[in-house]
């Protein structure tokens, strides 16, 4: 109860003499994961928020709890006078395309989907070929593994999820091929695999992780928002020395409790690309051309090893770097649904 009252008026109430950019209202709509998913909603939010701060407006956000809420949330943002609206997730594609068609003066930034064949010009898709980055993580894991088994599992069988698992598997296979080894991937065989059936971090997800750990893996790669928490918990419970790989963000930074476990993270730099897209819009440089994050443009990548620096062979890291270059140069092709 007895803090110090502010002596100045609240910022923002002093109105009209700011530069024009400050009127550029930025907004964002999440999918059902919510903005605190430690994953792509959260990253996009951070990117948009950074842009909004820089522009000098308060970011408006709406969280969707159901499929039918996407369209109203997007429409409401238009009604709230938003100039740029970021919509997160392939699920919002239809709603976003609709709204973009209906509101040609508003800029839309759609994450994780191309927006279909008849994409309007005021819609910019941001896509990420995470398979490339996951390939590196797969190679790294295979080289790191002592037991000859690495594991992965997903939330639900969505392409944005399986693209990670696919790349990961290809990376492991490439390692086997190059080094004449036979490291196995548990939880994904390229077609089917282990899924928790949802994106809740709960006992169901933890049990899946435990079952994978039980097969003797020493690297675990959970793909799908918060379910890495279940993976981490399962690792801790097993008492074994198992490394965790993060998806989307660098877990080492977003969730410090993972610091001792996270080997690396397969990053989708959504914060950066969202920020850039919004800033471009604010500066009147918006273009509807799709952005595809790759290793080359650093839209995807793997995180530094942090605490695992000492545990990973320098030689192996050198190979990973070389592979990264080979992928960029097109010497190695990584298959994904985006092809």
């Amino acid at each position: 109860g007895c803090g110090q009252a502010p002596t100045t008026e609240k910022p923002g109430s002093d109105g009209g003499d700011k530069p024009a950019a400050s009127d550029f209202q930025t907004c964002i709509v999440s999918d059902m994961g919510g903005f605190d998913d430690k994953s792509f909603n959260q990253l996009s939010f951070e990117g948009a928020e950074k842009a909004a701060d820089e522009i000098g407006v308060k970011l408006k956000d709406a969280q969707s709890n159901a499929e039918t809420e996407y369209a109203p949330n997007v429409t409401n943002m238009v009604d709230e006078g938003c100039n740029a609206i970021v919509t997160v997730g392939f699920a919002l594609s239809a709603a976003t395309v609709d709204a973009a068609n209906a509101n040609p003066d508003t800029d839309f930034i759609l994450i994780d989907d191309a927006g279909g064949d008849a994409k309007p010009d005021n819609l910019k898709p941001l896509l990420y070929n995470t398979a490339e980055a996951a390939f590196l993580a797969g190679y790294l894991s295979a080289g790191y593994s002592q037991t000859g088994k690495v594991g992965t599992f997903g939330g639900m069988e969505f392409p944005t999820v399986t693209i990670f698992m696919d790349g990961f598997k290809q990376g492991v296979d490439y390692f086997n091929q190059e080094n004449g080894e036979s490291v196995a991937v548990v939880g994904w065989d390229g077609k089917t695999g282990s899924f928790t059936g949802g994106f809740e971090a709960n006992q169901d997800a933890k049990t899946v992780a435990t079952n994978i750990i039980d097969q003797g893996v020493d690297v675990l790669f959970p793909v799908g928002g918060p379910i890495y928490q279940s993976g981490l918990q399962a690792i801790k419970d097993s008492g074994k020395d198992i490394a965790l790989i993060g998806a989307d963000a660098d877990l080492f930074n977003t969730d410090p409790t993972t610091a001792d476990f996270v080997l690396t993270s397969v990053m989708k730099e959504m914060d950066v690309s969202t920020y850039e897209a919004v800033m471009a819009a604010a500066n009147g440089e918006f273009s509807g051309d799709p952005y595809i994050g790759t290793l080359e443009n650093e839209g995807v990548g793997i995180a530094p090893l942090h605490n695992f620096e000492s545990k990973v062979d320098a030689d192996l890291m050198a190979q990973v770097d070389q592979i990264k270059q080979d992928i960029i140069d097109g010497k190695i092709t990584v298959k994904s649904y985006l092809d």
Partner: protein, 424 residues
Amino acid sequence: MSVQTLQAEPRTIAVVSWKTPIILGVITVAVALLPLLAPRVGDSTFRFAAGSEILAVPDLTFPGTPAAWIGVLIGAAITVVAALRIASHRRVPLWLIALYAVALIFGFLSWAAAGSTGTLPMISLLSGALALATPLIFGALGGVIGERAGVVNIAIEAQLLAGAFCAAIVASITGTPWAGLIAAMVAGLLVALVLGVFAITYHVDQVIVGVVLNVLVIGITSFLFRQVLAPNQATLNTVEPFKRISIPVLSEIPVLGPILFRQTVIVYLMYVIVFVVWYGMYRTRWGLRMRAVGEHPQAADTVGINVLRTRYMNVLIAGAIAGMGGAFYTLVSVPRFNSEMTAGAGFIALAAVIFGKWDPIKATLAALLFGFATNLQSVLSVIGSPVPSQFMLMLPYIVTIFAVAGVVGRSRPPAADGQPYIKS
């Protein structure tokens, strides 16, 4: 007039119900179709060791498809035996059905695991089932107690969720999961109190109150999660979870030890509570009065039992127990709260209450069956199953429907379940 009295005792005619052999037959045929239509090559390995026992049981390896056929044949043989017993007007003993279940599960697993590089970890299959079942068991016990006292508890989901929520906050603030556990009980109890006020005092339809409480608690926890918890993740929503404790000696028992006695304290508490509730319900004054007010509240009233107070007390106890189940989510499974993280478990627990015929032990078994089916699909998908993941994920729900429709059938709730007691 000569008088003679009809002395004979009433007769009994054995009833012939072919339901059991028919269902056994149907399941046998269904499982037999798998190796028949989709034969798989390779061995299946069953692992019975957790990895750290002193006396480890060695792995067992069978050729997959033949082993599957052996399971099916044993199942078929038991089906025939069951049919013969029924034909000669004898009962099919429970152990025979249990044996049948084991044989067919063995057959199914052998088929599914054939040729896989992985092994079937029997220990983690069962201990995972136990973990999955734990919150359901707490929830189901809460349901059983409430309904035995005559108050339908649809609000199990709400109690679990509130428990998980409060456990996370309090454990984060205090830094000890024990405080979180107590907070979870209090949270469950508070939800139960609202249920009590509306259902017992104000005679509102208990189904209405339960359904609405679920919505209310989902709303409040999600609202507070986003407004309060998410911005203060580090201070309010980061839990130091309960650690696993291996009980000396007991945890070294082959197979069972690692399953039952390398668990967290909440699971041990569950063992105790299941026993206490069962014992209390049938052997103590508390249980006698609880069942009396649930079966015939007026009869209880006429012998001087305060029906309303008894119902309140039991509803509150039920809420506290269900709340404890909620704590499992945030103090054991994952060390933080996420909105709607119970994901419908309360409804599964409700199903376990009915499935278990309002009996604490049977409801526990029902929850365990559900946990087992869930983990079975998970293990199979990990070792590589030919079935699409979505169909695997359906397994526990299909198993439950079969069990309820085929084995359990009609279940009779306590006579006064759901009826408010109104005195003049």
